[in-house]
């Protein structure tokens, strides 16, 4: 396959990683499956997803890569819900920062920013938000449906992933809506970003500021604020 990253972008990202990466980051990619519980997917994107992950992994010695193909045990261990699934892993993650489908278009930046955050083991969320997020003890699953052409979507993806990095009880998942039409239909996704928390206990459209996003998480958990 022709290389997906342009030479000038390669240089830019190398430099960015050089300056910002601290600890090792692992990109764990699930590419094939026969698992019964995995959402139906659109195969045409898979070669591109594999290629872009490989190219990104080459840009820093601190980035490692694992690719699993049809590995039911690993799928179970990671809680893989669809293919492709890309987990960004570091010392502080809990298999809880994931991309379902290709991180292309505007989401490519989300991927780069996630790699940096995971490597540093910290986010740039404001202190008060961080503290509130860390206090959550229940399981939270945040699905963020996106399209690659949506400029407002990365903000929602990043917030979900930042929450996940701050708290191992939270799973933050990007879903590329074009790749998973059934999944999108299940939650009536007709506009993006659409955020679905704990299977629809709370949901909203649009990119909300972090504090409002957190309110929705509370709502899904049935927490009432005084």
């Amino acid at each position: 396959m022709e290389r997906l990253l342009k030479e000038k972008d390669v240089e830019y990202i190398k430099d960015l990683f050089e300056k910002n990466l601290k600890d090792e980051v692992t990109l764990t990619l699930f590419l094939e499956t026969n698992g019964p519980n995995v959402t139906k997917f659109n195969e045409q994107y898979l070669p591109y997803t594999e290629e872009i992950v490989k190219e990104v992994a080459e840009l820093s010695p601190k980035i490692k890569m694992n690719i699993y193909r049809d590995d039911p045990e690993k799928e179970k261990e990671y809680g893989v819900k669809a293919i492709s699934a890309l987990f960004i892993e570091g010392q502080k993650t809990n298999k809880n920062i994931v991309y379902y489908g290709i991180p292309s278009g505007h989401e490519f930046s989300s991927l780069l920013e996630d790699i940096i955050d995971v490597s540093k083991g910290e986010t740039e969320l404001p202190i008060d938000i961080k503290e509130k997020v860390r206090k959550i003890t229940s399981k939270v699953e945040i699905l963020v449906f996106v399209t690659p052409t949506c400029p407002y979507c990365p903000r929602a993806v990043r917030t979900a992933h930042q929450f996940a990095l701050e708290n191992p009880n939270i799973v933050g998942a990007m879903i590329e809506a074009n790749e998973f039409p059934d999944w999108s239909n299940q939650y009536n996704v007709y506009a993006v970003p659409k955020v679905v928390i704990n299977e629809g206990k709370a949901e909203f459209e649009g990119a909300l500021p972090e504090d409002a996003f957190l309110q929705s998480v509370y709502e899904a958990l049935g927490i009432k604020l005084v």
């Binding site: 972008d9 920013e113 949506c150 407002y152 506009a191 993006v192």
Partner: protein, 322 residues
């Protein structure tokens, strides 16, 4: 987008809350970014706040054909990415957060953010405008369930379906053309007999076999159970009603200014746009308004940039005279 894996928005910035900034720019669209480029060249210590995504409304334009310097046109998203790179080259700090309030005490502005209160000698308000909501009772019910305000974001959900576009201006016709690449049929509903869009866009729409028109009609109801299934429209002359069977309704009926932040602080016109003079000065010295949020006669990238250059130069002069 031109490039599937181009690098957008990666630079990390943090805010130094103890510092007094020369200039705080609020809004990261073309106007805000241009102000940042000029401020950087004036060596002003500046910060730019953006609450959602750098780029502003133009970032969702599939193709921009009237910004000089790009004879073949350029995607809105690539254009603003170039603006951003240029601003970063001159040292702009871009902070992704919203400004919650502004007050002025003596000569200093205080901007409340989630990181704390930031102080600045001058402020350029470049918060832009946002789409006016569809005036039907079912708007809230169907927003995100078939009613959309971003054709570039959501067109892909309407592959082989029928959609309506409400409006007759540039944005509406752009949207109709974008949607025609996915949808089976696009119906433009406009309240007047003639479209308001630039002639060249009209020509493209009229010659597109997927696009049809319901002129002199206004939307009165969006129909459906859980998602949009139809649109009821009314003829503005005969008052006759009819129902269009559509799966989506894309709305482009004008803009309202994002001026909440300065309400009560500066003078606004009757529609809420910030009143400025030729120098982009508002009724509060040291506070300038540029681009779509001000009472400008033309809302375009090129005019927003012009406003911003003027405001940055004026802010520079103002600071020197403090």
């Amino acid at each position: 987008m031109d490039e599937l894996f181009a690098v957008h928005e990666v630079k990390k910035e943090t805010l130094d809350i103890n510092e007094i900034y020369d200039l705080a720019i609020i809004g990261g669209g073309p106007a805000g970014l241009t102000a940042a480029i000029y401020a950087g060249r004036f060596r002003l210590k500046s910060v730019l706040f953006e609450k959602v995504a750098v780029g502003g409304q133009i970032a969702v334009s599939e193709w921009v054909e009237n910004y000089p310097g790009f004879p073949e046109g350029i995607s809105g998203s690539d254009l603003v990415n170039l603006f951003k790179k240029q601003a970063e080259r001159f040292g702009t700090n871009i902070v992704l957060t919203d400004v919650r309030s502004i007050e002025k005490i003596d000569d200093l502005f205080y901007l409340e953010t989630e990181y704390g209160k930031l102080r600045a000698w001058t402020v350029i308000l470049a918060t832009g405008a946002e789409p006016v909501k569809l005036p039907v009772p079912e708007e809230e019910k169907f927003r995100g369930r078939g009613i959309s305000y971003c054709a570039t974001c959501d067109a892909a959900f309407f592959k082989s379906k029928t959609v309506a576009v409400i409006g007759g201006g540039d944005t509406a016709i752009h949207d109709a053309l974008t949607l025609s690449k996915f949808a089976e049929k696009v119906i433009v509903v406009h309240r007047r007999k003639e479209l308001r869009a630039t002639k060249i866009l009209q020509e493209a729409a009229f010659s597109n076999p997927k696009i049809t028109f319901e002129l002199e009609y206004i939307p009165v109801h969006v129909l459906g159970d859980k998602k949009v299934e139809g649109l009821e429209i009314e003829n503005v002359v005969t008052k006759e009603h009819k129902v269009l069977k559509v799966d989506g309704v894309f709305v482009a009926i004008g803009e309202k200014p994002n001026s909440e932040l300065v309400k009560g602080l500066v003078d606004l016109d009757e529609r809420g746009f910030v009143i400025t003079n030729m120098k982009m000065e508002t009724s509060v010295p040291g506070l300038y308004a540029v681009g779509d949020v001000r009472n400008t006669p033309l809302r375009q990238v090129v005019t927003a940039c012009g406003d911003a250059a003027i405001a940055a130069a004026e802010a520079d002069k103002y600071i020197k005279n403090l």
